[in-house]
Symmetry: D2
Subunit: 143 residues, 4 copies
Amino acid sequence: MTDAAGAIVDGVHVLPVRVYYEDTDAAGIVYYANYLRYAERARSEMLRHIGIESGRMMADIGLAFAVKRCVMDFLKPAKLDDLLTVETRLTEIGGASLSVDQRVRCDGADLVCMELKLACMSLGGRPARLPDDIRERLESFGT
Amino acid sequence: MTDAAGAIVDGVHVLPVRVYYEDTDAAGIVYYANYLRYAERARSEMLRHIGIESGRMMADIGLAFAVKRCVMDFLKPAKLDDLLTVETRLTEIGGASLSVDQRVRCDGADLVCMELKLACMSLGGRPARLPDDIRERLESFGT
Amino acid sequence: MTDAAGAIVDGVHVLPVRVYYEDTDAAGIVYYANYLRYAERARSEMLRHIGIESGRMMADIGLAFAVKRCVMDFLKPAKLDDLLTVETRLTEIGGASLSVDQRVRCDGADLVCMELKLACMSLGGRPARLPDDIRERLESFGT
Amino acid sequence: MTDAAGAIVDGVHVLPVRVYYEDTDAAGIVYYANYLRYAERARSEMLRHIGIESGRMMADIGLAFAVKRCVMDFLKPAKLDDLLTVETRLTEIGGASLSVDQRVRCDGADLVCMELKLACMSLGGRPARLPDDIRERLESFGT
């Protein structure tokens, strides 16, 4: 059984992702933008694991994490029906930002490697300091 | 030149839509859910033609059109690089609802035919009567 | 733990689906076309449960299931972070077609109900009879 | 009138892109992965302008351009109904690769800046030299 919410293994969040028709394109492989969808699912589940839900964070304290920068290396393509894993590592916790390393893997090989920088933002679009309890939860996950 | 906003021809709004990789799947054809994306683009442009913008309608008067029912017939598939047209006809204007006929065509043939029923909704999710000025604009388009 | 591949309960395939940012739109709810993505994920997992994989079916015997008709009723919207279930019932197995009933549910309520008619197609786009072993697997699932 | 295929202005391809509900998310802005969809639409239209169509290139000579690396900077968010432009500049033509600079703009401001490296690939997934006529067409566009 593969847990739809993923699991934490040695400080790394690991999310299983199955490739469906919706993810592929006419070249027979996963469309490049969809790796960012997978990455966001993985970050959401990683945050949920430590008690942070995007919807409640937005509704309760008016904050959201926004991606400010993203570097993607596409090494190998994924195909229909592949069972992928998305590994997510928190690499830095700043005053109002996070750095995250994510990689999409299949059968022991890296397919796509991503480095992201996220900012904590108010709903009005301004940078906001990470609230203390969110910072503590993130630190519990480890960098 | 093809106008990105489409045009009204004999009471029918006609929107050109090019098929890109993002729209296709591993079977080499347009993924079935994407015809609903095309249909929504066409309805948005049809409404914009008569002075109704979704974003402003939501912000200014707290209303949005929500699809309540949709019947889709898939006759022929579209392929990468195809230049499609989406035809939109308003078939009924009710007190708090609209009926719309939409078809996606290519080279003179129907690919997908859709009948939709839309409701005017408040942001809280309740049905709302069509405001008079919106009703008048819709009637000017003709059913 | 929620199984990412779903489970069969009393002849019904039940797939858990979490709502992420990618699924929502500016109205704060799941974008209407995305229910068709959820439905396809569910049909794929239902088929995988009885030993039929889309990618292998296409590569090995040159066949695919194509949606020919779809009736969707949108009853209630889903929101960010909701944990949905997609229920899939096979209602009819024809010579070259399938009928399927699918509903997306949350907290015991139906959100979207769908009736679909699928055709077995050759990659060239012609209708094809269901191969015997696929028919037997489908019948084992039950209608 | 805005041309759906864009135009070349001083060696830069400029494509208009309207933001629809499908592009936005529950934070009220364009979902981050969708800028890669816009970028691919723009590259496709830029190539079509110089006589290169992705579908025919794949069918006729078994080649496709695959993104190998992508650096994205997200400066400002786009919103529902915004009329964006995607600017595409060819910055380098290698033996089997291309470098491209793309930026998504609105009202004179940069929203997202992207640097991409694309490889010419055979359908089997191997790097392939750029055919002479494709190279000439690309050089006519200018770097």
